[in-house]
Amino acid sequence: MSEHKQINYDNYDPITFVPEPDNHGTKALWKTFVLLTVITIVDILLYFWLPTGMPKNITFIVLGVVKAAFIVYVFMHMTYEKTPLKYSIVAPMIFVCYLIMLILIEADFWNFLNH
């Protein structure tokens, strides 16, 4: 992991500084690819198997978040970044959850007005 690497900070220039590359091979990448493909196929199968309704929608959103997490953590190498950077990028997503909550309450009200 990058924390244990010796980093040369002599003549540190914030604009040109680039840390040593952190190579982890291709095994995890192919595993993630298989996983993403399988989840997508499961998505399609569940679309035709599950009855219409909120539980079905929530299942798809959960599977979507799982796929997104694998893309961010493996493909975008978030696992190998330092903890403060991880939190700086992932934690603000809490605002999106808040927005979803607010907007669903609002949509429920539109529904009430229309029907």
Partner: protein, 252 residues
């Protein structure tokens, strides 16, 4: 110089606290802002979708002969199978709207095409991350190879999306109305997939620039292939957004 990293030393200047380069950190922050943009669009879609009732259950067997038939004047004649399926009172069922596949006209293939698009984008994401991995080993020829695969994947996805839009527009969908249900359905579809498609297009352009630089030996002279990682972050983000566009527009 001591290599012991304490919190005090990490944040007291003279080093990169996150141990990333300036460009990569800025790319992450840009992607965060872009994630907010797409969240707003998708949450807006969710609000409109939630304010309409779900479509009634209606099963059409796969491979059955199904046509979306339309009048010249923009009216909608429903075929036998479609009677009562599409109405302004409820949201349309995506598997009955997006059931076309190239060279299989009139055959009911629900969500087959969009699954293919998803697969293309995921696979181009894999070739991109393989290019990043090759760059970390300073393997210039491999980087070139995988970047070319990624660009081909990007163009394939854009071509699929153009075909999808063409089918949708031919059947009468516009920004202000569509024969499938509430007008929001097509308007939001064009808005969000268009916005995503433009991101894919930008990503392809970025990848081509990176490929040309790599062929010119820019990164070889620079001594590191970090630019591939930055372009890769953007490309994976585009894939990530597609996961949600796919979930919300085609599954829910």
């Amino acid at each position: 110089m001591s290599n012991t990293i304490s919190t005090e030393k990490t944040w007291s200047g003279g080093r990169s606290p996150f141990n990333v380069s300036y460009g990569k950190l800025m790319m992450w922050i840009f992607l965060l802002s872009d994630a907010f943009t797409f969240s707003s669009l998708l949450v807006g879609y969710g609000a409109v979708r939630y304010s309409y009732p779900s479509p009634p259950e209606f099963k059409i067997e796969v491979f059955e002969n199904v046509h979306h038939m339309f009048e010249e004047q923009g009216g909608f004649i429903e075929t036998l199978q479609h009677q009562g399926i599409f109405s302004d009172a409820h949201w349309p069922s995506p598997d009955l709207v997006f059931n076309h596949f190239p060279f299989a006209h009139g055959v009911h293939l629900p969500l087959f095409f969009v699954s293919l698009m998803t697969f293309i984008l995921i696979f181009s994401s894999v070739t991109m991350v393989l290019a990043v991995e090759a760059g970390q080993r300073l393997a210039k020829r491999e980087v070139t190879k995988y970047m070319i695969y990624t660009i081909i994947g990007g163009f394939a996805f854009l071509g699929c999306q153009a075909w999808e839009w063409t089918m949708f527009i031919t059947e009468g969908a516009t920004l202000v109305g569509n024969p499938f249900g509430p007008w929001h359905f097509a308007a939001l579809f064009f808005l969000v997939t268009g916005f995503h498609g433009f991101h894919v297009f930008s990503g392809v352009v970025l990848n081509i620039v990176v490929l040309v630089n790599n062929l010119g030996g820019t990164y070889e002279r620079r001594g590191h292939y970090e630019m591939i990682e930055k372009a890769g972050l953007y490309w994976h983000f585009v894939d990530l957004v597609w996961v949600f566009v796919f979930t919300f527009f085609y599954l829910i």
